[in-house]
Each structure stands twice: as C-alpha cells, then as structure tokens.
C-alpha cells in the first residue's frame, strides 16, 4: 500500500480538572514521577496558561481571590506517514498547527474542532464496590441510580430527568472562536467538510430544566465547561467548576447524602465526550483526523506523585495482552515473549520511583521509607540479584492468588473490587521479572513520537488499579470494547476510544439525543457516546474523593476480612492520587521535615474512629470545601516568599483548611487500626 498522510489527535485520552476559579492552568504534558531533562524536575506538573510548556509554581495554583484554578486539557494534532500498518511505538509524528505545510504542499488554514460533553451519572447504574466490572457479567447490570425515577436506563423519561447533556460545540481555530457548554449556547458541530452547523433543536439538558428548585451549595450547575483554541489552533477544553447540586425532598429539605458512590437526588458537573477535528487546507480540501476523548474530573492534588499502577499501566497492559500492541512482547497464543528485554529506564525505573514517592502522600513507617529509598536507588548498572528487589520477593504476583496477602508484599495499598490488596499489572510484573532475570536493556530505549508521549503522560497522571470506582477513569479502561480495535490497519493508532457515530441532524428538542449508552461485558462495540466514561464514577464525585482515604480491607471483600492481618488494620485507598498524609511546606524549616498532617484536616474533620481520619466527617462539607485542599508539589517549584525548598521534597502548598500553627488530628504511624466494630465490642 502506498503511504498516505493521516492525522491523529493527542493525547488520545486527556483529562481536564475542576477548579473554582475562572482562571486556569494547562494539564501536564509530562508523566508523573519521571525525571525531566534538567535532571531535577519531576514530571507531572501542570503548565502555565498561555505558554508552550512553562511549568507552574505554587503561586500559579490559585487566583488572587484564593480560588483553585481549573486545569484545562490541551489537545494537539499530528500528521503521520501511514503505510497501511501502524506499529507501536511508531516513534514518528509531527504536530500540525495553523499554517503547517504538509509534505504534499498543502497548507493548513483552519482547524474545526468539535467536542460534545455530557454527564449520565445520575441516569446510569450504581457503582458496586465489591464487584466492580463483574456487576455487568453474565448479562446482568447493577441496580440503576435514582431508582425512584421510573423507567429503564434508556427511557426518555429517565434521561430527560437525570442526564446532563450540553450537546456538541464546534469552533473554528482560524476564527478564534470559543464556545460554552451551557444552556445559552446553541449546539453546533463540524460537518466534516470544514463548516460548522448549528443545531438549535438539540435537546440540551441541565438539572434546572426539570427541577423547580435545587439545593445549590456552591452555585447552579449550568455549564459543563468551555472550549477555545490557542494561537496555534490547538484545542483547549476547560472543565466546569465541578460543583454538585441536590434535589429537595417532599419536606423541602435537601436530600441527604447517604453514601460515597451512588447518592440519590444529586447531580455533579463532571463530564466527558469525544473530540474531533477537521483540517481545512489552502487548496480547499479537507481531512478528518482520528479523534480523541476528554474527561473532566477531580483536581490533581499531587500531580507529580506517580501511582505505582497508573491508568497508563492498565491501558498499556490491556493493549499488550488483548489488542496486539507489541507482538514482540506478547503474542495471542504464545503469551509473553521470554526473550523480550524491557528497558530499565522506561519499564522498570518508573515502578521503583513510584514506590519511593508514596512517602509524600501516605503515612509510611520508617521501615518502608528506607526500603523504598533503597528500591529507588537501583539503577541499570546494578546486578538485580544483589538488590533489595532480588527475586521480586516483595512484589505481589498478579498471576498468583496473592491479592489477600498484605505485608510484606507490595504495593500495600487497597486492591480492586473483591480483593484486599493491589497488584501491579501483569505486564508490569513481566517486565520486573525479566529485569530480575537479568534480561533487560540499558540506555535510552524505545523511541516514542511526540504524540505518543502525550498519550503516555496524560494517562500516567491518573489513578490505576483500584477502580472502586477510581478518580479519573474506572475499570472500563481495561475493556477492549471501548477502543478502536483495528488500530493497525485504519491508522487510528492505539489507545483511541471509539466514537459512536452521532447524526445531530436528527436531534429533536423533546427527545433525549443520547441513550443510556455503552456498558461493559455486553458485547457493545459500536462506540461510546458522550458521558459514557464518567458515568461509571461516583455521584457526586466529591463524596467519593472524600471517603477514599484509608480503609480496612474488608470494604472490598463483602465485609469479611480476607487479608492475612487484623481486620482493623487500615490501608490507603488511592495514596498517590488522593493524598492522605502530607508535609506542609510552611512547616518545613531548613528542609527538615515536620510531622505529617492529614491532607483533609481542621474543623469538621476530627475523627473519633481512625478509619475516617483525613476526611470531612459531613460529606456535604466535601462538596463545599474540596477546593480548599492543598496541592503536593516539588520543593523546587514552591515559591513562598523568602523560602527555598530542596527539589527532593514534595510538600503541600496552597492549602486553605487550616492556618499554619493550627492543631489538627495527629497522623498515626502505620500500621494503625480502626476502632473495633460494635460486634467486636460485644
């Protein structure tokens, strides 16, 4: 096949994060935990608005009024020379901006971007925390959220009442357009030929349309965000303020928040949806790129702290084992190639580094700190058998029945639904095992193209493994059905969510345009609608973020302790992504670390039971004050007046829950325990 030029949007999956300010910063384009070219800076830091890649400092995180800035997602377009078979990594790709001249001589004169954001959480199924994706197995589905609203999941009556759908918005980069995802802006979409069509009859849905009054503790939920382009024509997706609103009951009392995951009568302003772009050239021709997906969700409270298992690790593992990503690594019949040589700096070091970073967001004992430091000190010159990781003696094997074995196996954080403890992915474990057998490469390793690097970075900065239900994405990132599976022959490339074709010309003001949408394990392969990713997350998002600090393992295993330790022992839920214990920058003197403090602390957080430490005791407070939680950041990017901090330190900055010197619940050294249950007390 003769080669042709194709176009892809990157990152394939990108994340915009809530903030209460009108100002914004840009989502990081480097991976958490990875050392940057300067040898000092650790990746994962967001980027200053209006810059190519100038990293934020601590004073960039809030506006002058103290409000947390939003984190906008930036999408870029790349062209590729495609010969009929895509490989991974391709190592190629060049960015396309307004004015780019392609090898065939055509010059880009406009980029028409279309984004569609929706939130189906309230209309979707419950998150089942001890089953996870298995709740969809064998033709089953979980109970619907808001079951008092009559109808099936696709019923127009339910969707009209429970779904938030702002509809699509299209903008021309050359015209400098922008568009808001609110009720006052007419939906529009690119027609694939470079033009934008309006759809005034599109059935936009917001909670206020069907509720006379709503409890709005932080303002009305009347937008899901906004889009515009930068001066190069790249797409910027700004999320909403991440607020939540609740219905009133028949006594005109706001419906009480009764749980963490599936609150009845509540909406939040999370959203997700497809991103597509049409290129217009100076010769009048147009081309359509392989699109992407944007997800608007929780803030990144510790952007540089890498999850030992990130969303990237899960997505990569899925693609390696199920979608033929790297035949030299894994074959459908032969399995992992025993001769495959992982690259130390790319495949091994990130896992070791992530372990060492856990200390900045969790209350680890000295034993762990020193051991993790030794793990992180391993480099490519070391003989594996002479290191602390010899024989992978302390790594939980995902291929064995070890998910209920806690200490001393790592990672020691909580596992996914139905399991006590987390495991690295099977591909991560294979890489580690190869290294352990002295079968690995040193040096720079595989070459990734700039777009491929953006894909990795965006997902590395998200939580993996413990999708109960997760923070940015849930377990469905491991479902091959959500992706474009013929990625090699179509040129789409890997990790690209399949867009369900949507014909907006059929939109009718009275009928919900979107359906209940895609669900896993039901053979649905026609693609995802807007809102089909975020609907698997908690509603409202704040209550889940708040509660998922520390738990007993039995929370995952039907209330029965299946672990090899005390039922009351507490473990971390999402320690990298949802900081538990932190060091406060203002309390660090001369780079000497003070005692840790809970990330969520101060009035309203005092816990009688250690199991609920580091949380707002009243979930409503989490809805009102989530933006006051501090951000953990590398010392070299902290700009507190007259102070300097070592780049070795990662400290909480810009916290507003307590003032320096305020007392707060002390942080216990791990292991620590929940109070005995009523049954145990007798």
């Amino acid at each position: 096949m003769p080669s042709k030029t194709i176009f892809r949007v990157h990152p394939t999956l990108n994340v915009a994060r809530f903030g209460t300010s009108d100002d914004y910063i840009l989502a990081p384009e480097t991976a958490a935990g990875a050392r940057e070219a300067d040898g000092v800076t650790i990746g994962g830091l967001p980027i200053k608005a209006g810059t190519e890649n100038e990293l934020v400092t601590s004073s960039d995180l809030r506006d002058a009024g103290g409000h947390l800035k939003k984190q906008a997602a930036r999408f870029r377009l790349f062209w590729y020379d495609f010969d009929g078979t895509a490989r991974y990594p391709g190592g190629d790709g060049s960015e396309v901006v307004i004015g780019t001249k392609l090898p065939d001589g055509r010059k880009v004169v406009d980029l028409v971007w279309t984004v569609h954001l929706a939130n189906k959480k309230a209309a979707a199924y419950n998150v089942v925390n001890n089953l996870g994706i298995k709740a969809y197995a064998d033709g089953q589905v979980p109970q619907r959220r808001n079951p008092e609203v009559h109808g099936e999941v696709d019923s127009p009556s339910r969707l009209n009442q429970l779904m938030i759908d702002a509809g699509p918005r299209a903008i021309s980069a050359a015209s400098g357009q922008s568009a808001k995802f609110d009720n006052a802006t007419t939906p529009s979409a690119g027609n694939g030929q470079g033009a934008i069509e309006s759809f005034p009859d599109y059935p936009v849905r917001f909670p206020a349309d069907v509720n006379d009054t709503l409890f709005e503790p932080t303002g009305p939920l009347d937008t899901l965000g906004e889009i515009w382009t930068d001066d190069k024509g790249r797409l910027i997706v700004l999320p909403s303020i991440g607020n939540a609103v609740g219905q009133y009951d028949e006594y005109d009392v706001p419906i009480q928040i009764t749980g963490d995951l599936n609150n009845v009568g509540w909406y939040d302003a999370a959203s997700d949806g497809p991103v597509s772009v049409t290129l217009q050239f100076d010769d009048g021709t147009t081309e359509t790129a392989f699109g992407a997906w944007v997800n608007c969700c929780d803030p990144g409270y510790a952007p540089q702290i890498r999850n030992v298992v990130s969303t990237w690790d899960d997505v990569y593992d899925t693609w390696v084992r199920e979608l033929g990503l790297q035949p030299d690594l894994f074959g459908p019949k032969s399995g992992y190639n025993p001769d495959y040589e992982p690259v130390f700096d790319q495949d091994i070091k990130p896992i070791f580094g992530a372990a060492a970073q856990q200390r900045w967001t969790a209350n680890l004992p000295e034993m762990a700190l020193r051991s993790h430091t030794a793990v992180d000190a391993i480099d490519e010159t070391h003989e594996p058998n002479k290191t602390i990781m010899a024989g992978l003696n302390f790594i939980r094997n995902p291929n064995a029945d070890e998910t209920n074995i806690g200490t001393p196996l790592m990672p020691l954080s909580l596992g996914e639904a139905g399991t006590s403890f987390l495991t690295v992915s099977k591909t991560q474990y294979f890489m580690l095992a190869q290294w352990s057998r002295n079968k690995f490469q040193t040096g720079p390793g595989r070459v990734f193209g700039p777009g491929e690097q953006l894909d990795i970075a965006a997902l590395t900065n998200c939580l993996g493994g413990r999708y109960v239900p997760g923070i940015e994405f849930s377990y469905i990132v491991r479902s091959v059905d959500i992706y474009i599976q013929d990625w090699q022959t179509t040129g789409a490339g890997p990790f690209r969510v399949k867009h369900k074709p949507l014909d907006y010309s059929k939109a009718d003001e009275d009928t919900p345009f979107l359906t209940g949408g895609w669900i896993p394990l039901h053979g649905m392969t026609d693609g995802l609608e807007p809102g089909d990713l975020s609907k698997f997350m908690a509603i409202p998002w704040q209550t889940d973020y708040n509660s998922c600090s520390i738990h007993q393992t039995l929370i995952n295993t039907n209330g029965v302790n299946e672990s090899n330790g005390a039922a009351s022992t507490l473990y971390w839920s999402w320690p990298s992504q949802r900081p538990d214990a932190v060091y406060v920058a203002e309390e660090v003197v001369n780079n000497v670390l003070p005692a840790q403090r809970w990330s969520i602390r101060g009035p309203g957080t005092y816990a009688v039971n250690p199991a609920s430490a580091a949380t707002f005791q009243n979930p409503l407070q989490s809805i009102e004050q989530w933006d006051r939680i501090g951000i953990v950041m590398q010392g070299s990017n902290i700009d507190i007046e007259d102070r300097s901090f070592s780049p070795k330190l990662f400290l909480e900055v810009q916290g507003q829950l307590t003032a320096p010197g305020d007392a707060s619940d002390p942080v216990a050294q791990w292991p620590f325990n929940a109070n005995p249950s009523k049954k145990e007390r007798g």
Binding site: R370, T407, P408
Partner: protein
C-alpha cells in the same frame, strides 16, 4: 485467608497433653549452679548475649523454611511469616534488655549443624513427648517434617516455668529455653543497680503491638526491671504461650496489624503446620548456585554488621534494606534450586 483461621484454633485443642515437663529430679547433666551472691553482672551479660544469640539463631532457620514454600498464600508460609516477625521483635527486645544492662550485643554467624538446637537438652524430659517431634534437624533446609519438628521443639511449652530460675555459670547448661529465660529474669532482678533505661533502645514494632505499653526499657532500677520483665514475658508468651497450657497469647502481646492468628503462640502455629493434612510444596535445593549463595552470605554478613551498629547505638541507614535483601536472597536461592547458606 480467613477461611483457615478456624483450623489454626483446632491446633490449640490438639496441643493438650503435649509439652515438656521440666524434670527437677531426673538425670539432667550436672551444671555449675550459682547462688544469688555469686551471680554478677558479667554472668548476666553473658546470659543476655546468649538470649540475643538464641533469638538470632531462629531467624535464618525459620526464614529458610518459609521461603522454601512455593505458595506464599499458603497457611504454612503465612504462619511462619508471623513467627519470623515476632522473632525479630524478640531480637529487639533481648537487645534492648542487654543495652539496659550495659551490653551492646554482638551478632556472630549462627551455626546450623546436626541436631544442635541452642538450649535444647532433652535428657531430663518425658521422652514420649519429645519423640512426637522426631526426627528433627538443626540444619538449614526446606520445610519438611524434620524442620517442622525442630521448629516445634524450639517453641515447645515448658509448663513448669514461671518459677524462680536456677542460675548457671554457663549459658549452655540450661535444659530448655524456658528455663533459660526464667534464670535470666531472676538474674536480672538481682542486678537492678546496673539497670539504666533509655540506653541504645530501639523500637520498630510498637505500631504493630498497639496493646504493649512499651517495647523499650526506659527507666532505671525497679521501674526499669518491670519493663525488662515485661519484655521477657513478651518473648516467652509469644513463643510458647502462657504457662497454662490452654491459654492464648495475652492480648497485650498480640500483634494488632498483620498476623493471621495473633492469639496463637509459636508452638501452636508450628503444630498447626505439622498437623495439617500435608506440608506445602517446596522448592528443592542442592543445585549449583554458588553465586547466589555468596550473595546471601554477603547480605547476611552485612545484616550482622548492621545489627551490631543498630544495637550499638548507631542509626544504620541501610538496616532495613539489608534486612529485606537477606529475605530476597534466600528466596532467590530457593527459586533457583539452590539451598541457602549464611556463612
């Protein structure tokens, strides 16, 4: 894991009738008894060093058995793991007591030969009870009947302990570990003038034992002795249980974090392994792997040095990594068909 807990408790029932009766009037080898007046600080310190040696001896022996088990989720693996953790606690406790009496312990390489288990002398015992745990071996090896028998014998209850111990000139002259610790406690009580709390005390375990008032000796004199006595109780109770045969480990001495059966003493845990339907599958040693053995010897040598540094008042940054590395090196030997070697 939880599903197996009931079976652990059954072991306690089977334990009834087992155990050694210390024979006051049988043919135990003659020893050099000391009176309270003859007992001095040098005697006490030699006994304290022996206590450290004894606890240290168990670590490679138990660890080698544990890491030989292929299935890390097996009951046997998990039970031995919890015992190993407590042996480390005992090592810390014995060392803290030693430092309180002015001795920073040393850590010589233990010897594993024949059936020579330190402080086990069955000549004065009811041989019928002892015979239940034969054959046994004191050599390093995979978990098999001989090793699990040895592990039971090391921790076998001594029901007549709890009385004032006989003081011996020579630490090798005690017929049992229980008798040895009885003597140690009694001998320590005689020399409280030499007891100084807060000296080179180490605590890495208090978060795992939320019920323990203290794992350090922090006071001088009589108050300090109460703390010494508490640590000896901790060692003996976790090891062989309280002096009455059906009692579980006292709540204060029970692990509160990561023990699959915190109420069971070491003897009951090992008895549960012995009495299980079958022993777990193990790796086979004996293969050629001199390099892996050398790595283990090197790591273990480093660990001994780190322990001396630690209990000598230092703060070796590499202590935990070295300790962990020893475990990895043992496992690595087994997985590659090589028997562990420590010196």
């Amino acid at each position: 894991m939880n599903r197996h807990r009931n079976s652990f408790h059954k072991a306690r029932q089977r334990r009834k009738g087992l155990g050694r009766r210390q024979a006051a009037s049988t043919g135990k080898p003659s020893s050099t008894k000391l009176t309270a007046d003859q007992w001095d600080i040098a005697h006490l310190r030699s006994h304290l060093q022996a206590a450290v040696d004894l606890e240290f001896w168990t670590l490679p022996f138990y660890l080698s058995a544990m890491y030989s088990i292929k299935d890390r989720s097996s009951d046997a693996y998990q039970l031995i793991r919890t015992v190993v953790n407590q042996e480390m606690l005992h090592l810390q406790s014995a060392s803290n007591i030693a430092n309180a009496y002015g001795l920073s312990p040393t850590f010589a390489a233990p010897k594993y030969e024949g059936t020579n288990i330190p402080h086990l002398d069955f000549s004065g015992d009811d041989l019928d009870e002892i015979d239940k745990f034969k054959p046994y071996t004191a050599t390093i090896g995979a978990l098999d009947l001989e090793h699990v028998n040895a592990m039971c014998l090391i921790e076998i209850p001594e029901y007549l302990t709890g009385e004032t111990g006989d003081l011996n000139e020579n630490v090798t002259e005690y017929g049992s570990i229980g008798a040895f610790y009885d003597a140690l406690r009694y001998g320590a009580s005689l020399l409280t003038d030499h007891l100084h709390g807060g000296v080179k005390q180490v605590d890495f375990f208090s978060a795992y034992y939320r019920g323990m008032p203290s794992l350090k000796v922090i006071d001088d004199g009589a108050d300090g002795f109460d703390q010494v006595s508490l640590l000896i109780d901790l060692i003996t109770d976790q090891g062989e249980g309280a002096t009455k045969e059906d009692e579980t480990v006292l709540p204060a001495f029970q692990n509160t974090a990561d023990d699959v059966a915190p109420e069971l003493d070491h003897f009951d845990k090992f008895l549960a392994i012995k009495d299980a339907k079958e022993l777990p599958e193990t790796f086979k040693g004996g293969g050629s792997g001199d390099q892996l053995q050398q790595i283990l010897v090197s790591e273990f040598t480093d660990l001994r040095a780190a322990l001396e540094h630690l209990f000598g008042g230092g703060n070796p940054q590499q202590f935990f990594p070295v300790m962990a590395s020893v475990g990895g090196a043992i496992r690595n030997c087994w997985e590659n068909g090589v028997s562990p070697r420590f010196s």
